[in-house]
């Protein structure tokens, strides 16, 4: 691993085609970041983590993709597995809306929530399109993957990437990761795996993701918004305020009309002189 230098953009390239669902990333993340975790969730699959949240900064998704019909040799599909994480978006929705300035972009070009600045308004939770952020019940602040900010500052790679036994999670300078991902995609396509695709590698989704993925199905199969749905919260600012402005004008107009066209009050209800004095 080359030296980690502030001022350079770093990220994760998560290659889901080689993820085996061992959850070493989840364990390493929790251990390093001292996350207690939530009670396990037991459903009808192998997933007992449930979701990304304040305690789960890495989350291995087990997506049942078992076909109904029997497949031939080499064509078998069983599970889509993906170690999900905060995407550290270039156009981060959480940063857009955060009113306190608690969410910053670090010197490693990652997105970080400052725990001592966050006041727990939860606007970031309403905005994050990936459902990554949660509020810690002990610290009472919003939390998510820091891309091991403290480890980067110490020149160490993030715990999850360090622990991943199959190199499904790769950490490094973003340009290097892009090159590796492009090569891996070309190899898979050459092997006939046409469904392989890169998510977040280019700027189509939130200006590009510092944590991007090689997927083996459409993004929505992994609960990732596709390009058409990758929209930023600020898109409604202009329309929302404009509607409010038009309503305000019509509202004031309505009030003025009501003032002009109201009926005369009954004589006995005329106000007392003492109160009928204007400002």
């Amino acid at each position: 691993m080359a030296e980690i230098v502030p001022g350079q953009a770093y990220g994760f390239f998560t290659d889901t085609s080689v993820c085996i669902g061992c959850k070493a990333c989840e364990v390493a993340c929790k251990q390093w970041n001292m996350l207690e975790g939530h009670e396990p969730v037991f459903g009808d699959g192998y997933d007992n983590t449930g979701a990304l949240n304040d305690q789960n900064w890495r989350y291995v998704q087990f997506i049942d993709n078992v076909p109904d019909e029997t497949m031939g040799t080499g064509q078998g599909k069983a599970w889509l597995m993906m170690s999900d994480v905060c995407k550290h978006c270039q156009h981060a929705s959480c940063m857009d809306v955060c009113p306190t300035g608690a969410i910053i972009r670090t010197e490693f070009d990652t997105v970080f929530i400052q725990p001592d600045v966050c006041n727990g308004c939860r606007d970031c939770i309403s905005a994050c399109p990936y459902g990554v952020i949660g509020v810690d019940e002990q610290k009472h602040v919003a939390q998510k993957c820091t891309l091991c900010y403290d480890r980067l500052q110490g020149g160490m790679e993030p715990a999850c990437a360090k622990a991943c036994p199959t190199q499904s999670i790769q950490f490094g300078p973003l340009d290097e990761l892009h090159a590796r991902a492009d090569q891996r995609l070309a190899d898979l396509h050459a092997q006939g795996v046409a469904e392989a695709n890169l998510y977040g590698r280019d700027q189509a989704v939130y200006g590009g993701l510092n944590a991007f993925f090689l997927l083996m199905d459409k993004p929505e199969a992994y609960r990732l918004p596709n390009q058409a749905n990758a929209v930023r919260p600020g898109r409604n600012n202009a329309g929302g305020y404009l509607t409010g402005l038009v309503t305000a004008v019509l509202g004031v107009l309505g009030g003025l009309i009501a003032l002009r066209r109201r009926g005369q009050p009954p004589a006995q209800e005329q106000p007392a002189d003492t109160e009928a004095v204007g400002p």
């Binding site: 955060c98 300035g101 600045v117 003032l259 007392a272």
Partner: protein
């Protein structure tokens, strides 16, 4: 709005619930009452002054719990001031993000709080026969009220924009919420003041204006409700917003519109020989304003809760 067969929402709910619903309700009333009070004072006749003063009182009282509710909703309530002051090491200073409705709203609430408080004190002094606030006499006082009314319009409506500027289902699928909440807040404020003038005989002279304005604002609210529904259709989130049990809240919200709309439709507006339209006194029942107010609350509860629970 994107024209999609079905919008994809993978967000988590922010859990804005039991402090936020009453905050949205009271913010609508505080802003609306200030606007009505200003209309009565600046464009009404001398007989409207008692009702205007009632409006400033109501705006202040409705506003008082707002900062408390917002602070209690924070998971770190003692850091409420971080909304206004960035404490990031090396970047400390005032916080203002024009593209974040919560940031803009925080500042406007502080400034509106000043206007509401000063106007409250002014009418309190005047009602007690004092003349200690000469500064607010004349042009300066009118400008003060007008600026306060603009802020009040913002406070009553920005909460809808705040919801829309997110990636939550329902909220982010429409741009109509700001207008809808504003119209609803105005109608609710008119209903509240209609209720209150019963207890201040001198203010009853403005009853006709309050009732007629409530009808017009209810019509505006209905129009925006239709826009709200239409904007949800392309993204396929109508079921989220109007499914059970939220439909019950929507029914209450719609019931709140009925008194105003009913009176508008039932030709209670009669053209006089002079060509003026006269608002007939409404039924003596005090139930109607309560129904309207309940509808205002239910509207906000339906919008806020249906996207999250």
């Amino acid at each position: 709005m994107t024209l999609l067969a079905q919008a994809q929402h993978f967000v988590r709910p922010p859990e804005w619930t039991w402090f936020i619903v009453p905050y949205f309700f009271l913010a609508g009333l505080a802003g609306g009452c200030y606007v009505i009070a200003t209309l009565l004072r600046l464009w009404g006749d001398r007989g409207d002054e008692p009702a205007a003063r009632l409006g400033f009182y109501a705006a202040f009282l409705a506003f008082l719990p707002c900062p408390v509710l917002l602070t209690l909703d924070l998971t770190q309530p003692l850091r409420f001031w971080h909304m206004l002051w960035n404490t990031t090491p090396g970047a400390a200073g005032p916080n203002f993000k024009s593209w974040s409705p919560m940031s803009v709203g925080s500042w406007v609430l502080v400034v509106f709080g000043l206007f509401v408080t000063v106007s409250f004190l002014e009418v309190l002094v005047r009602d007690r026969g004092g003349r200690s606030l000469r500064l607010l006499d004349g042009a300066f006082g009118r400008v003060w009220n007008a600026v306060g009314a603009v802020l009040g319009l913002f406070v009553a409506g920005y909460t809808g924009v705040l919801l829309a500027v997110s990636n939550q289902p329902v909220w982010s699928d429409t741009w109509a919420l700001g207008g809808l909440f504003l119209a609803s807040g105005l109608a609710g404020s008119a209903a509240l003041l209609t209720l209150l003038v019963r207890y201040r005989p001198a203010a009853r002279a403005s009853g006709g204006m309050l009732e007629l304005s409530e009808r017009l604002w209810s019509l505006l609210e209905l129009a925006l409700l239709v826009v709200f529904v239409l904007t949800l259709v392309p993204d396929g989130t109508l079921d989220d917003a109007f499914g059970f049990p939220w439909i019950l809240l929507w029914l209450v919200a719609f019931a709140g519109l009925l008194p105003g709309l009913g009176r508008l439709v039932s030709a209670r507006l009669a053209v006089t020989s002079e060509g003026a339209v006269v608002a007939q006194p409404a039924a003596a029942s005090a139930v109607v304003p309560w129904v309207v107010l309940l509808g205002v609350l239910a509207l906000r509860a339906a919008v806020i809760l249906s996207a999250q629970l």
